[in-house]
């Protein structure tokens, strides 16, 4: 399938434009989804930390650590939530979900009242740790760890699906554009062949088939008019 040369630049321009749209849309999508999902995870983790801190004050203050543990155990069943721990007013960890123990990195740094800790835990991965104070900090604090790897996986999955869809649309558009261009440029190709064959002594192309020529000369558009002019110019008109 050959396409008229003067359309080839247009076609290339179209493909380049579509490619640019796909790439820029994907980039924007990656940025938006990444930010949105990360924000959502952080917000829900902070909400969990606040829910534990605000709704279980009696258990924490009353040192009913067994009941408190029952509650925090339920939160680590939520996908993405990797660990929860509760710190008492004296700064001791009084309930947690770690196995086989509280990681050294956390044991060394959890008391300075930050709202968010960025953790890299050996053998476990990278985490965002959101905190919530209990009774404005007088009762201690609740810490909820979100697995950054899990967030990244969710972002990759969402983005992967979108980019996959955009790629399919791009390839389909390319094929469709190419087909349409071919339909448009084929009569010109026949006209060009007819002109070469009729007006030049150089017979470097074969003439259009009789049926193709008939269809060409019967066209009511500019291509048909040019064909009829060439026929008149060569004196072949019946």
């Amino acid at each position: 399938m050959r396409i008229a040369r003067f359309y080839q630049k247009t076609l290339f321009g179209m493909f380049a434009l579509m490619g640019l749209i796909v790439v820029s849309t994907s980039a924007l999508y990656v940025y938006t989804v990444d930010r949105q999902l990360t924000d959502d995870f952080q917000k829900s983790s902070r909400a969990i930390a606040r829910a534990i801190a605000n709704s279980n004050i009696d258990l924490i203050v009353g040192q009913n650590y067994s009941a408190l543990q029952s509650i925090i155990d339920q939160y680590v069943e939520i996908p993405g939530i990797s660990y929860v721990f509760v710190v008492d007013p004296k700064g001791a960890i009084v309930a947690h979900t770690f196995v086989p123990g509280v990681p050294d990195e956390i044991a060394a740094d959890y008391r300075d009242g930050k709202e968010v800790y960025d953790r890299a835990l050996a053998g476990l991965g990278n985490f965002s740790e959101l905190t919530a104070p209990i009774v404005a900090g007088a009762g201690g604090s609740v810490h909820v760890g979100v697995d950054k790897g899990y967030i990244a996986l969710q972002v990759q999955t969402a983005i992967g699906n979108a980019v996959y869809l955009l790629t399919i649309i791009f390839v389909a558009s390319v094929l469709l554009s190419y087909g349409l261009m071919y339909q448009v440029s084929r009569p010109l190709d026949h006209l060009s062949n007819y002109a070469w064959h009729s007006l030049s002594s150089e017979k470097r192309v074969s003439p259009p088939h009789a049926s193709q020529l008939k269809r060409l000369l019967e066209r009511i558009d500019e291509v048909g008019e040019l064909g009829r002019l060439i026929r008149r110019a060569t004196g072949r008109e019946a």
Binding site: Y65, S66, S70, D73, A95
Partner: protein
């Protein structure tokens, strides 16, 4: 009854059920209590709190049982207590759960149950006190990462705090961990800590595996377990492991219990219990459908223990429950259960220990007694107070 009959803590539930049935079977054969048979409707919760909730709803809403009895485990009980509170108008009570956690002993759930056994706080305080008296002040904890483990951990922490000490360090494991699993990560923590003693708050497969791996790494400090561990079931696993490896896994083990030693035939209740267990050993197993929900296979076959602390506790639980029922007359009403139990006053189940409910504080835990046992010739035997001297740190 909702308990783990088919998963990681099944030996505890099966033995508790067997002990209770050893008391109830002859009672029912003799015409029951005031002409009524006492039946245990048992469901398997696989030590899973969600299943325990479903079973409890079934027992209360569908089966309309007279009382809830012999629940096994802290995480399961903790999650079912709010259900009892929601059904408070129907007067459902939980009798003698197989746990020493505080959750049903303190508000807001303290009015929903009765306990026969001492609490984990009392068990762990006793162990801590004895260890410290033996100059063992660096106490580490190996515990199940859930509400049960946390209850034991809190008891040990409080016990040490009374001596001005803190827990030397801790290692945890996931609920349901089997004996065959490696506990090297937990043992590595202990190697680093070099404790004078370790208190285990877990179940028999995990505690057994942990002791095995500790001894394999030549950490030979004393290891204590609390009653819920299931001492005999753990011992059975360790003895089998000893045979395979030719190593000693059973020395320097001490266990706190909430019932007298089942080998102490000087105790009337123990004699009575041993006779019943021997006589009804085949008839008191839970239904096969309960312990083998996916069919019985050779590797899943459960070999009942002839005697155990757990089945003795089940036997005493049933004995006390029947005593309460007897006082309720021929037409017992659920609404009268609390009043009847609290009016029991002082009583003796044949353990030689005075028990009571309902003092000025509305006491709902009958016993405060903690017993200690050690392994001798492959069996648990009582450890007298004077024998703790052998555990003094050299």
């Amino acid at each position: 009854m909702s308990a783990d009959f088919s998963a990681s803590a099944r030996a505890l539930s099966i033995e508790l059920y067997r002990g209770a049935m050893a008391y109830l079977l002859p009672i029912n054969k003799a015409g029951g209590v005031n002409g009524r048979r006492v039946v245990i409707m048992a469901y398997d919760d696989q030590y899973d709190p969600d299943l325990a909730i479903r079973n409890t709803l079934k027992l209360m809403d569908q089966d309309n049982v007279f009382a809830l009895f012999g629940y096994v485990g802290t995480p399961t009980m903790n999650r079912t207590l709010p259900l009892l509170r929601m059904h408070q108008a129907q007067n459902f009570l939980l009798f003698f759960p197989f746990t020493g956690a505080d959750t049903n002993r303190i508000p807001p759930y303290d009015q929903l149950s009765f306990n026969l056994r001492a609490s984990y706080d009392q068990e762990t305080k006793g162990l801590v006190d004895h260890f410290i008296a033996a100059h063992r002040t660096r106490i580490a904890v190996f515990y199940q990462a859930d509400a049960y483990g946390r209850a034991g951990w809190a008891g040990i922490r409080d016990g040490l705090a009374k001596h001005g000490l803190e827990i030397a360090g801790e290692a945890t494991y996931r609920r349901g961990s089997p004996f065959d699993q490696s506990y090297d990560r937990q043992v590595a923590i202990m190697e680093r800590l070099r404790p004078d003693g370790v208190i285990c708050v877990g179940t028999y497969p995990a505690c057994g595996g942990f002791v095995r791996d500790m001894r394999d790494k030549a950490i030979d400090c004393p290891v204590a377990t609390i009653s819920f561990v299931g001492g005999e079931a753990m011992l059975r696993l360790l003895v089998a492991a000893e045979r395979k490896s030719n190593k000693n896994y059973t020395s320097r083990l001490v266990s706190s219990q909430v019932v007298p030693s089942h080998s102490d035939e000087s105790v009337p209740a123990v004699r009575e219990y041993r006779e019943a267990m021997e006589r009804y050993s085949d008839a008191i197993m839970p239904p096969e459908s309960l312990i083998y929900p996916n069919g019985s296979t050779a590797d899943r076959k459960y070999e009942p223990l002839p005697y155990s602390f757990v089945s003795l506790e089940g036997y005493l639980d049933a004995k006390l429950f029947v005593a309460i029922l007897r006082r309720m007359g021929p037409d017992p009403q659920r609404a009268d259960l609390t009043r009847t139990a609290l009016a029991m006053g002082a009583f003796d189940l044949g353990t030689g220990e005075p028990l009571s409910f309902g003092d000025a504080m509305g006491r709902r835990q009958a016993s405060d007694q903690v017993y200690y046992v050690v392994v001798k010739d492959g069996h648990f035997v009582p450890l007298r107070d004077s024998e703790w001297e052998a555990w003094v740190k050299q």
